[in-house]
């Protein structure tokens, strides 16, 4: 069951971690992705911190941490195949984050709310 942010990230809970990527809508808006800069594993982040830079053929965009916590893993395969974000955005995860205590995903959009947002 995916949750979504207003910045067009998808969030998927797996055990005590959250996996983060960008939505097909975001991937389409960005255009062909040619470079992705990922955060360092182990980095402690606050919600709203810029953690990923995505360069498409058009422009650079930032992805911010949806929640506070610790980055536990990053998808290093994206460095060699940034285009996988366009090919299969729901599979091309960016990073896993272990939320700070007391973090809930309840405030994020469900699929219906997100579909309503992007119209």
């Amino acid at each position: 069951m995916l949750k979504y942010t207003e910045d067009h990230e998808w969030l998927r809970a797996e055990g005590d971690e959250i996996v983060v990527g960008i939505t097909p809508h975001a991937s389409e808006q960005l255009g062909d992705v040619v470079f992705i800069e990922l955060p360092e594993e182990g980095r402690e982040v606050e919600a709203g911190d810029e953690v990923v830079v995505i360069e498409s053929v058009k422009a650079a965009s930032d992805i911010s941490a949806p929640i506070s916590g610790v980055i536990t893993a990053v998808n290093t395969a994206l460095a060699d195949t940034p285009g996988s974000v366009n090919d299969d955005p729901l599979a091309a995860w960016f990073f896993r984050i272990r939320p700070a205590q007391g973090t809930s995903l309840d405030g994020f959009m469900d699929d219906a709310a997100y579909q309503a947002l992007i119209g």
């Binding site: 255009g31 800069e37 360069e55 285009g83």
Partner: protein, 374 residues
């Protein structure tokens, strides 16, 4: 400007092809089609791409008394090029300069026998037309009833020859008026991609029919402004307003080659254009700063405005990126930058990106080998 953007005669066709439209230089233009910028770029280099460039300014310069030489000399008073020596049926590249030697616009001009045809940048068309208003002995007529297409790529000639057989006989920078289904096409063998190809001016009422006739060919795909930019960047071609403007001289823009001996110091028609003294002195001495190619290490693109440093830390910038992005055919990021002319090719510099300095090597332009039909 609060005016609504203008639409080219192919607006509905772009929408039916699924284009994403963006504002550009006062026009609403397709930036990409569903294939996407990378695929469109690679398609153009492999087969043939069709670009709607109807936003560009087409201007006819007609001698008032039929004297083409006098009209050529009038144009030479604004453009430091050899207009007088341009044979009928041929086209050249040139610049409008200002009194300080800066570049007001870049353009193509063709000798069409009894008139000249100029193609200027969309954002500068109004300016250029006013600029030429002071010329004596010629009539300056903006072309308002024709669109402009570019057909570019290794299969462009074969495809165009199916519609217009005479196009196959043209050489690079030839310009001809050729018949197609009862109307005149103004065809030049040139472009802005580094590929063989054509630019074709078509009467507006027949533009869509002509474009669709080309798009029906399996080799031809529609190409948006996104790929147009990456194609010209790989081909080392400057873009007005980015790689040059009124603050950049011809020598600094790396466009000294467009000013031939006859217009330089000691030439038969030396000078006689705005800013000639400064422009010619700098051409003779060599500019301190010049447009050069840069290849960043790694995969992160460096874009317009990024500061370039000589050292991995400290110091002041020695230049900046004027155009940059990803080169799909190169398979890596590429850029053009204003840099000291004295630095050797291959020198490693540092581009400051998001607080980090990334190594980048000075690389001769262009990034790809052009395949013009000379």
């Amino acid at each position: 400007m609060t005016d609504d953007p203008r639409r080219t005669p192919l607006h509905d066709l772009h929408l039916s092809l699924g284009a994403r439209m963006v504002p550009f230089a006062g026009w609403e233009m397709p930036v990409q089609y569903p294939k996407g910028v990378l695929a469109e770029h690679l398609h153009t280099r492999a087969q043939a791409g069709l670009f709607d460039v109807s936003h560009m300014g087409q201007v006819v310069i007609t001698p008032q008394d039929g004297d083409m030489a006098a009209a050529a000399l009038a144009l030479e008073s604004l453009i430091p090029a050899d207009v007088l020596g341009l044979a009928p049926g041929r086209q050249r590249y040139g610049l409008f300069t200002n009194d300080a030697g800066g570049i007001l616009d870049d353009l193509m001009f063709a000798n069409c026998g009894d008139h000249f045809l100029l193609v200027v940048n969309a954002a500068r068309a109004e300016h250029d037309i006013a600029h030429m208003g002071s010329l004596g002995g010629v009539t300056v007529t903006p072309v308002t009833d024709r669109g402009l297409l570019a057909l570019q790529g290794p299969q462009a000639a074969e495809v165009l020859a199916r519609l217009v057989p005479e196009a196959a006989d043209m050489r690079f920078m030839d310009s001809r008026i050729l018949p197609w289904k009862g109307v005149d096409l103004w065809v030049s063998r040139s472009g802005y991609t580094g590929e063989d190809g054509f630019e074709i001016s078509v009467p507006e009422a027949r533009l869509r029919e002509f474009a669709e006739d080309l798009l029906d060919r399996p080799e031809v795909a529609p190409i948006g402004l996104g790929a147009r930019d990456s194609l010209r960047l790989e081909a080392g071609m400057p873009l007005y307003g980015h790689d040059m403007d009124t603050g950049v001289t011809p020598a600094q823009a790396g466009l000294g080659w467009s000013i031939p001996k006859v217009r330089r110091t000691g030439g038969a028609r030396a000078g006689g254009f705005p800013g000639a003294e400064a422009v010619l002195a700098e051409l003779a001495d060599g500019p301190a700063m010049i447009r050069r190619g840069l290849r960043p290490e790694g995969r992160a693109p460096i874009r317009e405005g990024v500061a370039i440093f000589a050292e991995p830390s400290g110091g002041a910038p020695i230049g900046h990126v004027s155009s940059g992005g990803f080169g799909p055919s190169v398979g890596a990021p590429i850029a053009m930058a204003r840099l000291p002319a004295a630095l050797p090719d291959g020198a490693t510099l540092y581009a400051e990106l998001r607080g980090k300095r990334l190594p980048a090597a000075i690389t001769p332009l262009p990034f790809i080998t052009p395949s013009y039909k000379r």
